[in-house]
Symmetry: C2
Subunit: 245 residues, 2 copies
DNA sequence: ACAATAGTGTCTGTGAGACAGTATCGA
DNA sequence: TCGATACTGTCTCACAGACACTATTGT
């Protein structure tokens, strides 16, 4: 703020059209786990710049909505998911490189959304023809490889988001956000192993998660072997545990 | 983005004056430790709204600077600190409540800056008369008490920033950012105790930090007792340790 | 000598990690 | 009976936590 002006005077001038403002957008990182790999939803660009390249879904922030609301609107517009579903959202980081979009100055607030694959597959039943969400999921590790082109600074966003999820997996319960309401412990363990990128000992893992889950009483059979018990996450914050390391 | 328009057409219209944009500001949380308490730099408002109330220093983001640059500019404008000093900066969170500023829609990106008290006191020597930084430091815990008024949503910001620092103190080296280049282990321990809000055992603490510090060879005397060795932080990232709990 | 703080050696209990063993399914 | 996976009991070793001890200053 200019030190020589009163705040009122400064604001009066600032508000006038002569002061240019950056645009504010929200970009969404929709993560899920598919084929035992962390995947992210991407769309193909239909316009310049980066024509044909992959990018994250995004929207401009309206004057009458918060960033969180914009992120959820973006999610609904892209996936057509119905209200009521509980989806994990989290603000990731705000990106402000001056030329991050070559067309104009856009400051982008990135949000993470974690969705169980089953839920995306459900949504696919109500998609317009030829727009299957599941086909737009890309393996995160492959996107991050050198040589792979991603539009704008979205590769940085994905890298940053992946790290955040990995870190949070160690000391919070976000892994549960990738699973449906009920799940088996082998499923939960596999999820942690994918996020942490290392294998865990079954017995130790079960000891650690035992206070975070409760039995449903049901069992599931998935092959020629002993069936596994179905569990559900016990109530409580997403930030209260410690797995791995 | 409106689904019925091509991206180009949408942008052409969006760029035109008819689309109103929110303003983007940066608010700065300058933390330091004074009298064995976590303190934060606040200014008194000289204008409506919240006339006379306390608020965080902030600036509007210019078209030709990133958020990080705006945060540093804010820091320089308020403190007059010289280039070259190494200050810890970190993006905290982006606040977007629609009426968080009653005058107009402002989205604010908050940044944390951690400064050793000694450095602020140094800066005070070059301040214009009657503008001592040190006198504008407020005890964080007292600001957060019920009944204490803080302008805008800055109380939320302070609460959130305090929690972030507390959490990071456990698994990173941010405590070092509150100390000068060289320091003693009792000083370092005290810093951790303030941030974590609990007392630590001397012997255990020293074992834990021994790989994060190196002796300078010098000693300091601070009273009628054994002098303590001066240490300096070893090179390395701010995110590699674990203290407390 | 004593108060005060700096700094060190060592015991113990907890818990993560490692491994071995049992249970339950289909074929 | 066998292969496959679910599930459990227990040993060990590292380390956080707790405490007791020694070291070095000023008065």
């Amino acid at each position: 703020m200019n030190q020589d002006l009163s705040e009122e005077e400064f604001l009066r001038r600032y508000r006038s059209e002569s002061y240019e403002k950056p645009s504010v957008a929200v970009d969404l990182l929709i993560f899920t786990i598919k084929n035992e790999k962390l995947c992210i939803y991407m769309t193909k660009r239909q316009a310049h710049p980066f024509w044909g390249g992959l990018c994250l879904p995004g929207v401009f922030v309206r004057m009458d909505e918060t960033l969180e609301e914009a992120a959820k609107r973006c999610f609904v517009e892209k996936t057509g998911f119905p209200d009521g579903s509980e989806i994990y959202f989290e603000q990731l980081y705000t990106w402000s490189g001056i030329h991050r979009d070559p067309r104009m100055r856009i400051i982008s607030v990135s949000y993470i959304a974690l969705v169980p694959l089953e839920q995306l597959q459900q949504l696919d039943k109500v998609q317009p023809e030829g727009m299957k969400l599941e086909e737009q999921l890309f393996v995160v590790e492959e996107l991050l490889e050198k040589g792979v082109e991603v539009a704008f600074d979205h590769k940085d966003m994905i890298e940053y988001g992946k790290e955040r999820i990995k870190n949070k997996a160690e000391y919070s319960k976000i892994a549960f956000a990738f699973l449906p309401e009920t799940f088996t412990l082998p499923q939960l363990q596999k999820t942690y192993e994918i996020l942490l990128d290392k294998s865990l000992y079954k017995a130790n893992f079960r000891k650690k998660v035992q206070d975070m889950v409760e039995e449903t009483g049901e069992m599931v059979l998935s092959g020629a072997h002993r069936p596994s018990k179905l569990y559900r996450a016990v109530q409580g914050e997403m930030t209260e545990c410690r797995i791995g390391k």
